[in-house]
C-alpha cells in the first residue's frame, strides 16, 4: 500500500509544464525511445504515435477527451481537515501538500466534473498520479463520494478514472477509512441502478484497488497499466523470486479475469458511451471510434 514504490515520475507532467514552449519541442517516448513532436503527443492524448505506449494523462486533458467538445464543469469538493494527525516524517505533511498543489495546480488527487459524454449527462472523477502519487486521503475519498452523490442527484452514470500508488500514509487510519467510505458510495449507486464504470490507468495499486477501483459494474483498463494490490517491489522482497513477464499489467489482469477489457485510449470514449447507452437502455451512438490523431488536427480545447 504505498505510492512511492511505483515512482515512475510522470515524464509527461514535465511536458505539460512546458505548455507554452514552441510546438517544435520534441519529447522522447519512455517506452520506445522515439522522439515525438510534443504537439503530436498532445493531439494523441499522450499515446506514443510510434509504439502506442500510454503515457500518463493530466486531469484537464482527461476531462477534455471524455466530455463532448471538451466542455465540462468542475464540482467543488468540501474542505476536509488538513493534516488531521499533525503528521511529520522527514518533512511536515502540510509542506508536502503545498508542494503537490504548486506542482499540479490541484487541491488534491481527485477532481470531479460533470458534463455530457456522447450527449449523456455524466459525472467523472479523475485521480491524478502527479498529486502525491494519486494517494487516497480524506480529500480524495471525499471527492469520490461527492462524485457519487452528484451522479445520484443527476441520475447520471459515474465514471472513475483511477490512478494511485495507494494510501496517503500521512493521514494514517483516516486514509484507510476512505476504503469503506468510498465503498458505501459505490453501494448507493448500485442501489439507484446507476452505471458505475472504473477506468484503471497506470498505476493503480493499494487501497484504491482494494475498494472503489475494483467495484465497478464494468472494469476497463488502459493498455500496459500496472494494476494490483501490493507493489511489485514489495512482492519481490516477500517471495524473493523474479516476477513473471507482464505481471500486474492490464493485459495480465484481463487474462486472469480481473478486468472486463483493455481499451486503447483512443477508443475509450466510444467504449464508455456504448457501455453506458446499453446499461441505460438508450439507443445506439453515432459516436465512432475516436478518430485517430492523424485525422484529427487539434484536440478540443478544454473549458474548465
Amino acid at each position: 500500500m504505498n505510492w512511492i514504490n511505483n515512482v515512475v515520475r510522470p515524464k509527461i507532467q514535465r511536458v505539460f509544464k512546458k505548455r507554452d514552449t514552441p510546438d517544435n519541442l520534441w519529447v522522447k517516448c519512455s517506452n520506445c525511445g522515439e522522439m515525438v513532436f510534443h504537439r503530436d503527443l498532445i493531439t494523441a492524448y499522450n499515446v506514443c504515435p510510434s509504439c502506442d505506449f500510454h503515457m500518463k494523462l493530466g486531469t484537464k486533458e482527461r476531462f477534455g477527451q471524455l466530455f463532448d467538445n471538451g466542455e465540462y464543469e468542475e464540482i467543488a469538493i468540501p474542505e476536509v481537515p488538513a493534516d488531521p494527525l499533525k503528521f511529520r516524517d522527514q518533512k511536515r505533511y502540510p509542506e508536502r501538500l503545498k508542494d503537490a498543489r504548486a506542482k499540479t495546480g490541484r487541491n488534491d488527487a481527485v477532481t470531479v466534473a460533470h458534463g455530457a459524454l456522447d450527449g449523456i449527462e455524466t459525472v467523472i472523477s479523475v485521480q491524478d498520479f502527479a498529486f502525491m502519487g494519486g494517494s487516497l486521503g480524506m480529500a480524495a475519498g471525499e471527492a469520490i463520494v461527492v462524485g457519487a452523490r452528484e451522479a445520484l442527484e443527476r441520475k447520471a452514470p459515474y465514471i472513475v478514472v483511477a490512478a494511485a500508488g495507494g494510501a496517503r500514509m500521512q493521514e494514517g487510519i483516516l486514509s484507510l477509512m476512505q476504503m469503506p467510505r468510498t465503498t458505501v458510495a459505490v453501494q448507493m449507486l448500485r442501489e439507484a441502478r446507476l452505471p458505475y464504470i472504473v477506468v484503471l490507468t497506470d498505476p493503480t495499486t493499494g487501497g484504491v484497488t482494494a475498494s472503489y477501483a475494483m467495484l465497478g459494474d464494468v472494469q476497463i483498463a488502459e493498455p500496459g497499466a500496472l494494476i494490483g494490490f501490493a507493489g511489485p517491489r514489495v512482492i519481490e522482497q516477500t517471495i524473493r523470486e523474479k516476477l513473471p513477464q507482464g505481471f500486474q499489467r492490464a493485459e495480465y489482469l484481463l487474462e486472469h479475469g480481473m478486468v472486463d477489457m483493455v481499451v486503447h485510449r483512443h477508443e475509450l470514449k466510444a467504449t464508455l458511451a456504448r457501455t453506458i447507452r446499453l446499461l441505460t437502455h438508450r439507443p445506439g451512438s453515432a459516436l465512432k471510434q475516436e478518430t485517430l490523431p492523424a485525422t484529427r488536427p487539434n484536440p478540443p480545447a478544454p473549458v474548465a
Binding site: 481537515p81 488531521p84 494527525l85 500521512q170 469503506p180 467510505r181 505481471f247 480481473m258
Partner: protein
C-alpha cells in the same frame, strides 16, 4: 514459558530473581527469604504496571504481536460452543489464514471468523502467519452470505500484518477480494461486531472490520500500513518504526479519539498474554453487550447505522 519483549528486560530480571529465590527456598527450607521475595514481587509488579501504563506506540505494536497473546483459535476455544469451521471459497482453495465457521456464542447461533497467525512454526506456516490470500476473503464473503440467510450475527476478530503479497494473490485478485469483502460487511443485514485483538494492518484488516461496532484491545494496533512499511517508505530507513508508529497514531487510544473505533477493552496489567483466560472472557462479555445493544434493530437499521458511521469518519474528533 512467557516470552519477554525487549523493553520488558528490567521486569524480566526482577521476575527472574523472584523465581530464583523461590526455587532456592524450595530446595533448602531453612533459608527464610519470604520478606525478600515479597519485596521483589511488589517491585516487579509495580514496574510492570508502570511500564504498561505508558507504552509508546511502538512498544504497543510489539505487545500486539506478542507470541503469547491470545489468538483467534484461543478466543474460539473459550467463547464459542459447537464451533463448526467451514472451509473453502468454492472457487479455488481453502485459506487457513482466515478461519471461519458457525458456532454458539452465549446461547446464540453466530458466524465467527478472523485471522489466525499460528503459535509455533508448524501452525504459523499452516496459517501463513495470518496473511490471507484472496480465497480467505472469498470464504469470508460466503460465510457473510450465510449469516444473512440464516439470520445470524457475525463476530470478526482482526489480527493480521496484512493480506499476503504474492504472485498467486495478485493473479487471483486479492484487491478485488478485499473490496468485495468490505462491501459485503458494509451491506450486511445482520449485526456485525469486529474486534481488533492484535494488529489490524491495512486492507487485509478493514476487509473484515467494517462492523456496526468496532472494538479494540487496549494494546492492539490498527493502521493503514505497518510501522515498518511506513518507516521504509517515508523515512527511507528501516529503523524509524517508533517514529512511524507514533506519527500514524496506531494505538487504540488515538483511534478512539479520532472516532474510528467504538470501544477499548482494557487489558490485564502486563498485557493480554499474561492473563489470557481473563482477557478472552472479558472480550466475550463485551461482544455480548454490544450484540445486545444491537438487538431490535432491523436489517435496514443495521445497514444504515454501519454505513452512516463509516461515511461520517473524519468528521469527528479532528480539529
Amino acid at each position: 514459558m512467557l516470552s519477554y519483549l525487549e523493553f520488558e528486560k528490567p521486569i524480566a530480571e526482577l521476575e527472574g530473581k523472584v523465581q530464583e529465590l523461590k526455587t532456592l527456598a524450595q530446595e533448602d527450607p531453612s533459608v527464610s527469604i519470604s520478606d525478600e521475595v515479597a519485596k521483589l514481587e511488589t517491585k516487579a509488579a509495580q514496574l510492570l504496571k508502570d511500564t504498561y501504563s505508558r507504552l509508546d506506540p511502538w512498544q504497543k505494536t510489539q505487545v500486539a504481536r506478542h507470541p503469547n497473546r491470545p489468538h483467534f483459535v484461543d478466543y474460539v476455544k473459550n467463547l464459542i460452543q459447537d464451533f463448526t469451521p467451514l472451509a473453502g471459497d468454492r472457487l479455488f482453495a481453502e485459506d487457513a489464514a482466515i478461519i471461519g465457521g458457525l458456532g454458539r456464542f452465549r446461547g446464540r447461533s453466530v458466524v465467527v471468523m478472523g485471522h489466525e497467525k499460528g503459535s509455533d512454526m508448524e501452525t504459523r506456516m499452516r496459517h501463513n502467519f495470518g496473511m490471507a490470500r484472496p480465497e480467505g476473503y472469498r470464504k469470508g464473503i460466503r460465510l457473510l452470505d450465510m449469516a444473512e440467510r440464516f439470520d445470524m450475527p457475525v463476530i470478526t476478530l482482526v489480527d493480521t500484518a496484512g493480506a499476503y503479497p504474492g504472485i498467486g494473490s495478485e493473479e487471483r485478485g486479492v484487491a478485488e477480494a478485499i473490496a468485495r469483502s468490505m462491501d459485503r460487511c458494509l451491506g450486511l443485514s445482520v449485526p456485525l461486531i469486529s474486534v481488533v485483538i492484535g494488529e489490524g494492518m491495512s486492507g487485509g484488516a478493514i476487509a473484515i472490520a467494517a462492523g456496526n461496532r468496532v472494538l479494540m484491545l487496549e494494546h492492539s494496533i490498527y493502521a493503514v500500513i505497518s510501522p515498518e512499511g511506513c518507516s521504509s517508505i517515508l523515512w527511507r530507513s528501516s529503523d524509524k518504526t517508533k517514529e512511524a508508529a507514533t506519527a500514524m497514531k496506531v494505538t487504540a487510544q488515538s483511534l478512539e479519539e479520532l472516532g474510528i473505533i467504538d470501544r477499548i477493552l482494557p487489558e490485564p496489567v502486563g498485557g493480554a498474554h499474561r492473563e489470557r483466560a481473563q482477557m478472552i472472557r472479558e472480550t466475550g462479555d463485551a461482544i455480548e453487550e454490544e450484540l445486545r445493544g444491537l438487538d431490535g434493530l432491523d436489517a435496514d437499521a443495521l445497514r444504515r447505522q454501519r454505513r452512516e458511521k463509516f461515511m461520517a469518519m473524519g468528521r469527528l474528533g479532528i480539529s
